[in-house]
Symmetry: none
Subunit: 193 residues, 2 copies
């Protein structure tokens, strides 16, 4: 049982690199053991624990749970340091956390720094749910005069306006069409190594 989580880790790392679950022979290498039959026993237990499953052809494939990451709720404090409990327990799948409706969700890379004060930087990836309406205060991807732009939706004298979150940029007061492409529901940033 305890060793199985180590085997799972190795399998996850292998999968992250190669995007498949290899043959038993290869898994002997990955796991650092010499017996194919034992590899099978391990995989069977991982399947019982619902980390992997088999296709009708008998090939092993990962389940959703395979991609879950340990989540240390409120362990880290970015403000004043505070005593902390150990990390354990909860697991999260990043995609499930951000995406509710895959067919309506699209990823858009943010260009420019017009939303820096909202914590949205150049190069961040916005998770956008495509829909035609939004509420005041939502951060929306709008199509203004045939251009996509990411701004906060607001209302001024009965007309919709788009507020940047950066004083260096002007408020956009669309004359003519203000078409909503979608609403910002998530944000992803990757730091380069």
């Amino acid at each position: 049982m305890s060793k199985d989580s180590e085997y799972l880790n190795r399998l996850q790392d292998y999968y992250a690199e190669w995007k498949n679950i290899p043959s038993y022979a290869k898994l002997c290498e990955v796991f650092g053991i010499a017996s194919k039959s034992w590899v099978k026993a391990i995989l069977t237990r991982l399947a019982d624990a619902d980390f992997i499953e088999r296709t009708p052809d008998g090939r092993w494939i990962p389940t959703r749970q395979f991609f879950s990451r340990p989540h240390a709720e409120s362990t880290v404090q970015a403000g004043m340091p505070v005593s902390v409990t150990a990390t354990q327990g909860e697991y999260f799948v990043i995609d499930e956390m951000l995406v509710d409706t895959p067919s309506k969700t699209t990823l858009i890379t943010v260009k420019g720094d017009s939303m820096v004060d909202a914590g949205i930087q150049d190069g961040d990836v916005a998770v956008v749910e495509k829909r035609l309406t939004a509420n005041i205060g939502d951060i929306v991807v709008a199509i203004v005069d045939n251009d996509f732009t990411l701004k906060t939706l607001d209302k001024e004298n009965g007309a919709f306006i788009l507020r940047p979150a950066n004083p260096a940029y002007p408020v956009i007061r669309p004359q003519g069409t203000l078409e909503i492409f979608g609403v910002l529901i998530g944000l992803v940033r990757k730091y380069k190594r």
Copy 2:
């Protein structure tokens, strides 16, 4: 050439359902043909077109391009807006983008606003790769006097210091132990609906 895109479609559909590329025999079914050698010829062409590739073990795996969808909205750009990159694939697109080594990656919810100027807000989820060393300039999760904290690592007079990204917070100059828990490699934010 023209038929290959049909075969690619079928392969994409199969992959979406089973998350792997099956044997040549199975692909005969999927493609609706009867010849394994022709399957191989097709896959070889798809590999030349960079939709799939092979692991060192000879197994076929999809490339990034395999998941890319033709996006109808062509590149609209001007001013300060955005570029659109639509993606297919229900799960683990974002995960794959952020996580290189699953076994060393953990998620931590950020508390406080000491890093707001770095675009890190209260409630954001930090994607942290656990390791003991970091470079100057990295944003790290450090253990200072038994407390976790998220700060930028810097050096001052030969000693490591932790800089917040908010002038309202003081620079931390650890006397005694400065232990690195991990390095920030990604950030995820979810906007409430």
